[in-house]
Amino acid sequence: MAALQPLDDAADRVLGLGVDDEPSLDVIPAPAGSGPRARRRWRFRRAGGKKGVAFWLAVAWLATVAFCAVFATRLPLPDPNRPNVIDRFAGFSAEHPLGADSLGRDQLSRVVHAARVSLVVSVSAVTIGLVVGGIIGTAVGYVRGRTERVVMAIVDVIAAFPALVLLLAVLAFVGRSLTVISVLIGALSIPIYTRVSRANTLSIAQRDFVHAAHTLGAKQSRILFREILPNVVPAVAAFALVAMGLVIVIEGSLAILGLSVEPPDPTWGGMIAASKPHLEEAAHLALVPAGAMFFTVLSLNFVGDTLRRGLDVRDSNL
């Protein structure tokens, strides 16, 4: 493929580098394309991956968001729920640094207060799905046999069930609260984590090192935890990080159907969903919460990625 020639060149460059005499664990190649075709040295870094500016920015953002989530009510911000119809759709100004929404409420304040709900919902929903689904999927993908068929059939029931019916029914009977919604979304997402972790387990279980461990007489649980799980985790974790963003948006769509946290308490997803009738006249109603969500999920991924590279003992062989 001629189009990929530059890739090949870059790859050559990478592989053509001389290697220092020291052991090459914990190294990553220098970013390709950032210099002439010169020999380049491997760069060392401490365990945890190269921590550049982007990483620290991401950490700073996450810390800010966490801080806001915890201390929202103590911050010197205007009441996020107090309408002020005169200020409707106000743009960015000294009084409203991030503008005002359709009821004239301050967006900065709302976005900060919304952090707590959105984070709680997305983190708990994803965690439930990840932990429960991940464990089930990995276990089942390894053990196979009848257990696998039965468990996957049950998981399929959850997946195939019309979610809206479940949400309506549960919320009608149990009432609406942050906990209930998080648990429901978490439960409904178990199937996807189960299937993804199972898929990866199926693949990894075939690898030589697993066979080797088995031959050496390692117990199943040990193989599961020492060999398989560490290799399944990156894939499932990657999905989990993406899923956090998805859950925030999903929560917003649920708000439109009246299935989310009660108004007037803000959530990022709810703010985004509520911005729809006003997209033309006041785009900042959507961009502010979407932006907050974007930076948060992006930061989570950066951090997660960098940490992952630290945990990975092996680097890319390409």
């Binding site: 309408p83 439109i256 009660e262």
Partner: protein, 542 residues
């Protein structure tokens, strides 16, 4: 989006098709910015974007909201409609006359009219439809027509025999009960007849892809000579307000229907688009359950009304300058509107509100059983659509200002309606009024044991006045009675208003005469109530 669909289904006017007056007085805030009409041109197709799909088209089983009526008037003809003065006038019928005490209404049909399948329109057909479909158990028209009989007099004359005097009865015939459809076709099609409507109207049903498009074609044997002008109409339900407007902008549709204030106003800004606006009798209301504490105490309700600024409520819906504040169930264009009642409705006065609520709060025998000094609290339910959420939040903050704690709760439409019917609520957002005769509207809403009296509010004077209203055919007398009823209602504060509904038909400027339909005898019709019209009179120039 979907929620919009829900809201509009829940909030549609009763019985579809009833009309409202657009008489003499200046329409408030409405614009009819239109291009030159010019001379009629025959031929052409138009595409109409509707708010929602309708599940079935047969009177008696079909549910006709504004979007359904818009299509129905192409396929069916109503026996009567309101004219520009707000009075009932025969349309398909040649005449309709009451007896002295308004217990019998005699209808004379035109001769030579046929249904689209060739069956002749005559009294026998009307009787068959009436007995087999309209008053059949389980029909949705059985309630309005309870204990009513249809008696054939001769081939083209018959009468409705009512169980009690009702001077407003013909109003029902502008809606589904008054749309003749072919009994032969209905019988032949059985359970599928709702999907293949056969009427006497200017257009013949051609095809229907649900949730996508319904096509009607010109009726070559239409009983009004020279009509219709158009060859074909394609009706497309587009539930989302924003994309419906975009479809108008791109020219995907030629005419757009909307009952949302903000969309109607945005339509005004489009170039090359004519706007036909109609301010009807449906008004947005907050209803209070007068049997549940603390809302069973009139002081509390009065205080809640004093505490709200309707102008802000309208602003939040995007209707400022277009939609006037409501003070009663009838809009300013209705002959039953009363200035006295309007003046008596309290203006925004948070201090007076505070005084009143304090009176209740400090009352040792307060109805909610709480100790004096404890704040009043209740729950407000509304639909989850964004604009209504804003409305509810605004209400909450108004009432918070006077120390009332309001818990907001969102429910989807089916539960919302269920709770209103069963009385399982304290306060809800809803709609009141309809473009129908006041007797029907008021009786449904403010007498007991009407299941539709969600507020459970009633008063003996209302019952008396209504009885007189039903027996009176004199407009002035009726107006006075309605005024008295409206006054009694408002004094009890069972509900509070947040602005009338603005119905808009926005059309590309090459679509003409959208609101100019007339009766066969030349009298002008009432225009476009509920964003519907008689498509027979519409033409296009390009």
């Amino acid at each position: 989006m979907l929620a919009i669909l829900l809201v509009l289904t829940a909030l549609a006017a009763a019985c579809g098709g009833g009309d409202d007056d657009d008489a003499g007085g200046e329409p408030t805030g409405e614009e009819s910015d239109q291009s030159d009409q010019g001379e009629p041109v025959s031929g052409g197709t138009i595409t109409v974007g509707l708010e929602a799909e309708t599940p079935g088209w047969q009177p008696g089983s079909g549910n006709f909201a504004n979007s359904g009526v818009a299509v129905a008037y192409a396929i069916y003809d109503p026996l009567v409609r309101l004219d520009e003065n707000g009075e009932i006038h025969p349309y398909l019928a040649e005449s309709i006359e009451p007896n002295d005490d308004f217990t019998e209404w005699t209808v004379k049909l035109r001769s030579g009219v046929q249904f689209h399948d060739g069956t002749p329109l005559n009294s026998q057909a009307m009787k068959t439809i009436f007995d087999t479909y309209l008053i059949a158990p389980g029909a949705n028209t059985a309630g309005i027509l309870r204990d009513t009989q249809l008696e054939v007099i001769d081939d083209l004359t018959y009468k409705y025999v009512l169980p009690a005097p009702n001077s407003g009865f013909p109003d029902n015939l502008a809606g589904a009960p008054g749309w003749p459809f072919s009994p032969t076709a209905a019988a032949a099609n059985g359970a599928n007849s709702g999907s293949m409507p056969v009427g006497t109207g200017p257009f013949v049903f051609d095809s229907w892809e649900r949730d996508s498009r319904l096509v009607v074609k010109k009726n070559p044997n239409y009983w009004q000579d020279g009509l219709p002008y158009l060859d074909e109409i394609v009706f497309r339900p587009i539930p989302d307000e924003d994309t419906r407007l975009s479809s108008l902008e791109t020219g995907d549709i030629d005419v757009m229907q909307t009952l949302r204030q903000s969309t109607g106003i945005r339509a005004r800004d489009l170039d090359g688009v004519d706007n036909y606006e109609f301010l009807g009798n449906t008004t947005g209301t907050t209803i209070f359950n007068t049997t549940k504490p603390p809302l069973d105490d009139v002081r509390v309700r009065h205080a809640l009304v004093l505490a709200q600024d309707q102008a802000q409520l309208i602003e939040v819906q995007g209707g400022t300058g277009v939609v006037p504040p409501s003070t009663q169930v009838f809009s300013e264009d209705s002959p039953y509107y009363s200035q006295e009642v309007a003046d008596a409705w309290p203006a925004y006065d948070p201090e007076a509100a505070q005084e009143l609520i304090d009176e209740y709060v400090n009352d040792p025998s307060r109805s909610d059983g709480k100790a004096p000094g404890e704040p009043v609290s209740f729950r407000y339910d509304c639909l989850p659509e964004p604009v209504l959420v804003d409305l509810a939040s605004l209400y909450q903050s108004f009432w918070q200002e006077i120390g009332v704690q309001v818990e907001l709760r969102q429910v989807e439409q089916a539960t919302h309606v269920q709770e209103a019917l069963s009385g399982d609520f304290q306060a809800k957002c809803f709609r009141a009024g309809a473009d129908a005769d006041p007797y029907v509207t008021l009786r449904n809403a403010f007498t007991l044991p009407s299941p539709l009296n969600f507020t459970r509010f009633t008063d003996p004077t209302i019952d008396e006045d209504l009885a007189e209203l039903a027996a009176s055919g004199d407009l002035d007398e009726r107006k006075a009675l309605v005024e008295e009823i409206s006054m009694t209602i408002n004094e009890g504060f069972p509900l509070s208003y947040y602005g009338s509904t603005l119905a808009v038909l926005a059309a590309q400027d090459y679509v003409k005469n959208v609101d100019g339909w007339t009766f066969p005898d030349g009298v002008r019709g009432i225009g476009t109530p509920g964003a519907t019209t008689h498509w027979a009179f519409v033409w296009r120039t390009e």
